[in-house]
């Protein structure tokens, strides 16, 4: 099993450019998440999905959009990148939600994004 994979690993954008980050998992997990990690802070939830075709906003959703057209994939889009979106982005998945028994999250290796 590859677990959770993310592409690309690194990306540099100019302000105003757009891009899509791809997350894929092969564990048949229902729940998927996008986080951002900034220095000195824990991870913050951007958006999440409780199943194919569903998405919902997390703590810091502004400036991002997501789609989950297939169960195994969860895409994060930046329509018009801003320097404040410079961060490391992590995708995660879990079999159940946080209220369930199998609620531990499995993380991808991250995407380091720099917006100039």
């Amino acid at each position: 099993n590859a677990g959770v994979t993310q592409t690309p690993k690194f990306r540099v954008l100019k302000t105003g450019q757009s891009m899509t980050l791809l997350c894929a998992q092969d564990m048949n997990h229902e729940y998927m998440y996008w986080y951002r990690q900034d220095p000195g802070m824990g991870l913050r939830l951007i958006h999440y999905s409780v199943g194919e075709g569903t998405t919902a906003k997390g703590e810091v959703p502004d400036g991002y959009n997501v789609s989950r057209l297939k169960k195994q994939n969860f895409l994060l889009g930046l329509e018009s990148a801003a320097p404040s979106q410079t961060s490391v982005y992590f995708c995660a998945s879990s079999l159940t939600g946080l209220g369930g028994i199998y609620n531990e999250q499995f993380f991808g290796p991250g995407t380091r994004l720099t917006v100039l």
Partner: protein, 117 residues
């Protein structure tokens, strides 16, 4: 306010000595508590969790954590540290939904563990 705190930015310990990484929380209701580890340039890896039951939880790589309800703490411990344990450790707590919201995982800022030979 619901939160999780890791009071130490860094913990230094000699190889072979016991280690403790501290975590305290503030959350309504019964807490679900987690520890994750992040090695350089890697994603977070699940170590252990407490949902209910025994206060002492055993996890991966010889780590364990003790849930203390009266002190609202969930400290991570290991009897004998290895150099390979050097990494960034995150404590996290589930915050239950309110007003039609969702279960949320709040992470601490992280504690860097440095184990010296």
């Amino acid at each position: 306010a619901q939160s999780v705190a890791q009071p130490e930015d860094q913990v230094n310990v000699a190889e072979g000595n016991p280690l403790t990484v501290k975590c305290t929380y503030s959350v309504s209701g019964n807490p679900y508590l987690f520890w994750y580890v992040q090695y350089p340039n890697r994603g977070l890896q699940f170590l252990l969790k407490y949902i209910t039951g025994d206060n002492l939880v055993k996890g991966s790589y010889g780590f364990e954590a003790e849930f203390n309800k009266s002190q609202t703490s969930f400290h991570l411990k290991k009897p004998s540290a290895l150099v390979s344990d050097s990494a960034l450790y995150f404590c996290a707590v589930r915050v239950p939904p309110s007003g039609g919201g969702y279960n949320k995982l709040i992470f601490g800022a992280g504690t860097r563990l440095a184990v010296h030979p």
